[in-house]
C-alpha cells in the first residue's frame, strides 16, 4: 500500500516535472508544424472568408504597416459595413501585439484599411480579426511567421 502510494506520488511528481519542463521549453520552441500561414483564411464558424494584403506585400519586423483586409462570404460575395476589431500576439510567449491596430476605413467591395500593424520580434504570430456583419459574429485567424 505504502509502496503504491510512493509510486503514485513519484509518477505524479515526475509528470508535473515533465509538464513544467515542457512549458519552459515551449516558451521559445518552434511553432506547431501544421500551422496554416496562408493569407486567405476561412473564419472559425465558416461564415466568412478573409484575405490579408500587406502594403508592399512583405511583412517586415519592427515597422508599422498598413494592410488591406478583404472580406467575403462563403460564396465569394464581398461583405461591406462589417464591424471589425483586431487583436493577436505570440501564443508561445504569452503576449499580445505591440500596437493596437484598427480598421481605419471601409474601402468598398469588401475591402478594409487596416493601420497600426507591427511585429517587434521574430517567431510565430497570430492576428485575429473579430468580424461582426450581416451573417453574424465570427473570427478570422491568421498565422504569421516572421
Amino acid at each position: 500500500m505504502r509502496s503504491s502510494y510512493i509510486n503514485r506520488s513519484t509518477v505524479l511528481a515526475l509528470g508535473l516535472g515533465v509538464i513544467s519542463l515542457l512549458q519552459g521549453c515551449m516558451m521559445f520552441a518552434r511553432p506547431p508544424k501544421d500551422l496554416d500561414y496562408g493569407r486567405i483564411r476561412t473564419s472559425e464558424a465558416r461564415l466568412y472568408r478573409g484575405e490579408i494584403r500587406p502594403d508592399g506585400d512583405s511583412i517586415p519586423k519592427g515597422k508599422l504597416q498598413k494592410w488591406t483586409l478583404h472580406l467575403e462570404d462563403a460564396g465569394g460575395a464581398p461583405i461591406d459595413a462589417a464591424k471589425i476589431t483586431i487583436d493577436g500576439g505570440m501564443p508561445q510567449h504569452g503576449h499580445g501585439l505591440p500596437t493596437k491596430p484598427l480598421v481605419t476605413k471601409q474601402l468598398g467591395n469588401g475591402d478594409y484599411r487596416v493601420e497600426g500593424m507591427k511585429f517587434n520580434m521574430g517567431g510565430w504570430w497570430v492576428v485575429k480579426f473579430r468580424v461582426n456583419a450581416t451573417l453574424g459574429a465570427d473570427s478570422l485567424v491568421f498565422n504569421l511567421k516572421l
Binding site: G24, G62, H95, G96, L97, P98, E115, G122
Partner: protein, 412 residues
C-alpha cells in the same frame, strides 16, 4: 620543426576547407537560417534614417549647430552647472556610468545613451515621449535635472543665442515684462507666475522652448553608431572571406553569439541592427534600493505620452496626424504594460555599467545571471523563463557582448 610545419599545413588546409564550408577561423559553422539572423543584427541593416515630420528642422545643419551649443551649455539650469552633457558625456557613449542620473538633484532612473535614438519611436525608459525633441525638453524642466523654467530659458536664448535662434526659427517674441521665472513645472511661485501670463504669451514662450528641443534633437539625430568587431565578423562570414585579426571572434565569443541567437533567446527582444525591438517588457528586474517610489514603467509612460504637451499630435509638433501612427496605434492599457521598460540597444553595452533602468545590476555578469535565473518580478509579471545556462555559457554570452563596442560617430 617538421612537426610545426605539418601543423601549419593542416591549419592552412583547415582554413581553406573552412571557408568553402562557410565556417569560421575557429571552425564554427552557421546554417542558412543563422546566417540570416546574424545579418539582421549588423549595422549594414540599419535603416536609412527616416525624416522626423514632427521636427521641421531635424535635418537642418544650422539647427544642429545651435542644438550642439545648447547641449553643452550649463547655464540652461537653475544653478548654472547642469547641461545635457553633464549626464550624457560624449566621451562615455553619451551616458554617465552611474545608477541614477544626477542633475541639480538625483533622478529615479539611469541615463540612457543617445546614439541611434533618432530611430526610436519612443524615448525614455518608459517611452513617455515620442520624439527626440520632446525628450530633450523633459529634463530641462525637471526639478532634479536642469531645474530651470520656460521664461528663464526663453530670456536666456534672447540674450545669448538670438542670432542662432532667429536664423533657424525666425523672430523671437517680445521678451519684455516677462517674469524671471515662470513655467508649468517648478515650484508654486514659478507655476503661479506662469498662470498669470496670458494664453498668447504662454504659447509664444512655449514655442521658443519647444524650438530649443528641436535644435537639440537636430544635433542628437546625428549621433550614431560605428561598426564593431561583431559587424566586421558577420561581413566576413557572409562574404565567405577568411577572418583576420580585425574581424574574427574567439571561440568563446562565437559560442556566446550562438547562444545569443539561440538557446538564450536574447535576439527575441534585442533584434535588428540596433539590437532592440523598441518595445517595452517586464523582465523582473529587482527594484532599485536607491529609489523609494514604485516604478510602473510603460503603464505611466503611455499615459504621459498620450497627454504629452509636446507629442506628435500636439500644436508644437510639425507633423500631420497621419504622421503620428506610433502614437495613434499605441497600446494604452493592459497588464503587459505594468513595469514594462524599453529594451535598450546593446551596441556599446559593455562600457555602460551599471545596467538596467535604475542601474540595479552592476556588471554584465549580473545581468546575464538575472536573465538565466528569471526571478519573479517585484510587481507585474516577468516575461522571462529560466534559461538553465552553464557557467561557461554565461561567460560566453558576456564575451560576445563585449564584441559590440565601437566608438560613437557623429554625422557631419
Amino acid at each position: 620543426m617538421l612537426r610545426v610545419l605539418t601543423f601549419a599545413g593542416f591549419a592552412a588546409l583547415a582554413m581553406v576547407a573552412g571557408v568553402t564550408r562557410g565556417s569560421t577561423s575557429t571552425g564554427a559553422t552557421w546554417s542558412a537560417e543563422e546566417r540570416s539572423m546574424l545579418a539582421s543584427l549588423t549595422l549594414d541593416k540599419l535603416d536609412t534614417l527616416a525624416p522626423d515630420p514632427s521636427n521641421r528642422v531635424a535635418d537642418d545643419t544650422m539647427a544642429a549647430r545651435f542644438g550642439r551649443q545648447l547641449f553643452f551649455d550649463a547655464k540652461l539650469s537653475s544653478n548654472g552647472k547642469v547641461a545635457c552633457s553633464t549626464c550624457h558625456l560624449p566621451e562615455q557613449d553619451f551616458q554617465d556610468n552611474t545608477p541614477l542620473a544626477r542633475g541639480v538633484g538625483v533622478t529615479g532612473r539611469r541615463t540612457m545613451p543617445i546614439a541611434g535614438t533618432a530611430h526610436s519611436p519612443w524615448l525614455f525608459w518608459d517611452g513617455r515621449t515620442d520624439s527626440q525633441w520632446a525628450q530633450a525638453l523633459g529634463p530641462l524642466e525637471s526639478a532634479v535635472e536642469h531645474g530651470g523654467d520656460r521664461t528663464q530659458y526663453a530670456q536666456y536664448i534672447a540674450a545669448i543665442y538670438r542670432r542662432e535662434y532667429e536664423r533657424v526659427f525666425g523672430r523671437l517674441p517680445d521678451m519684455s515684462r516677462l517674469p524671471a521665472h515662470a513655467g508649468p513645472a517648478g515650484d508654486s511661485a514659478t507655476r503661479a507666475a506662469w498662470s498669470a501670463l496670458s494664453v498668447t504669451r504662454r504659447d509664444e514662450i512655449t514655442r521658443v522652448f519647444s524650438n530649443m528641443g528641436k535644435a537639440i534633437a537636430a544635433f542628437e539625430r546625428r549621433i550614431t553608431f560605428s561598426p564593431t568587431r561583431f559587424d566586421r565578423y558577420v561581413a566576413a562570414q557572409l562574404a565567405g572571406r577568411a577572418h583576420t585579426s580585425i574581424d574574427s571572434l574567439s571561440q568563446d565569443e562565437e559560442a556566446g553569439l550562438r547562444l545569443f541567437i539561440g538557446k538564450a533567446n536574447c535576439i527575441t527582444c534585442h533584434n535588428g541592427a540596433r539590437l532592440t525591438d523598441d518595445h517595452f517588457h517586464n523582465t523582473g528586474v529587482p527594484a532599485s534600493s536607491l529609489v523609494a517610489a514604485v516604478d510602473s514603467g510603460r503603464t505611466t509612460g503611455v499615459r504621459q505620452v498620450l497627454a504629452g504637451e509636446f507629442n506628435c499630435l500636439s500644436p508644437y509638433s510639425d507633423a500631420k496626424p497621419d504622421d503620428c501612427s506610433e502614437l495613434r496605434f499605441a497600446v494604452t492599457e493592459g497588464d503587459e504594460l505594468l513595469r514594462a521598460i524599453k529594451t535598450p540597444s546593446l551596441r556599446n553595452v559593455a562600457s555602460r555599467a551599471p545596467f538596467m533602468h535604475a542601474g540595479q545590476l552592476s556588471t554584465l555578469r549580473d545581468v546575464i545571471a538575472h536573465y538565466d535565473r528569471a526571478p519573479r518580478a517585484p510587481f507585474g509579471k516577468s516575461e522571462l523563463k529560466r534559461l538553465k545556462l552553464s557557467a561557461t555559457e554565461r561567460r560566453q554570452i558576456e564575451a560576445f557582448l563585449e564584441t559590440l563596442s565601437g566608438p560613437p560617430r557623429h554625422r557631419p
